[in-house]
Amino acid sequence: MKTFLKTILTLFAILLIAGLSFYFFVYNKPHVDYLKSEIEVEIQATELFSEYVSNPLAAAKKYNGKVILVSGSVNLIEQSDELVIAVMVFDDGFFGPEGVRFSLLEKQEEKIKIDKPISLKGFCTGYTGSDVILEHVSVFE
């Protein structure tokens, strides 16, 4: 009986340690630090936008989910409740000005000068049908 109890307790302890390890090291691991992420693709904003417009699926396969460095000029900065978005505008459509939209990391907007050449690094999430979206964006210095 004692051996049986010992086995059950050992199994329980192993399961508990495995569960806690999964929670702390896998489920609860920190998010990717996009400030330190390596650049996978470098491209001009005009080229990126026109690739998505002309063939959205081919461009999605090429750029979606990649950390890319985009060069161009920011034409406007929008501020919503939780996001600061820099926009490189190339067209006009149903939803207004269309182009590449960069959701900026904290305090990055201070480094951006409107209509001046700049390179921005971020995680490409795709094309909405009107804009190419990059998230977790920082100014590349």
């Binding site: 691991k29 996001l83 795709g126 909405t128």
Partner: protein, 182 residues
């Protein structure tokens, strides 16, 4: 030209201008939010997309929404990674859209501040599968802005998701947007 002719001409020009102004009055936002909440085996999960494109033509009631799936953000890095992996590997599922109409737009007085109950009906496309949905919503008219809010349920099985039996099939979708005149 007589005085009467001049007045008639002015009236025609004014009416034409008004008509052109009314046609296609569009309101839009690039920062609409869509929050998905669902019950997973290990508890309630939530994810939010704050970069949703929303457009509304107040003359026709035409309503459009587009979003990229990779813009959804999770609290847990593990869930974020799994979600991103799926939509990167399946680039053809990268976008979701809704195209529909506000059925009872006549109830909304855009010149009067207030809250109006409406019904939106249209086609929701998710994972390249389109289904008709109809949801109740609320329209809030303010100074130069309109806000739209809605909470509705979507059955993942209708969109051919391969869901483990332990996971809830219904997800709650919370939609929120502040629209501005274009």
């Amino acid at each position: 030209m007589s005085f009467f002719q001049k007045i008639s001409l002015l009236l025609i020009v004014a009416l034409t201008l008004c008509a052109f102004n009314a046609i296609g009055q569009r309101y839009a936002s690039r920062n609409g939010t869509v929050k998905l909440s669902y019950n997973a085996p290990h508890g309630k999960m939530e994810t939010i997309n704050r970069q949703v494109n929303v457009g509304l033509n107040v003359e026709t009631g035409e309503f459009r929404l587009t979003m990229v799936m990779l813009s959804f953000r999770f609290h847990s890095a593990y869930n974020q990674e799994k979600f991103n992996e799926y939509f990167i590997q399946n680039a053809h599922f990268a976008n979701s859209t809704f195209r529909g109409k506000i059925e009872d737009l006549h109830k909304v007085d855009f010149s009067k501040k207030g809250e109006y109950e409406v019904r939106v009906t249209g086609d929701l496309t998710l994972r390249q599968t389109t289904n008709k949905i109809s949801a109740k919503g609320k329209f809030i008219v303010g100074d130069d802005t309109f806000s739209g809010k809605s909470v509705f349920l979507v059955n993942l099985m209708d969109f051919n998701f391969n869901i483990p039996p332990t996971m809830e099939k219904l997800i709650e979708v919370t939609f929120d947007v502040d629209l501005k005149k274009l």
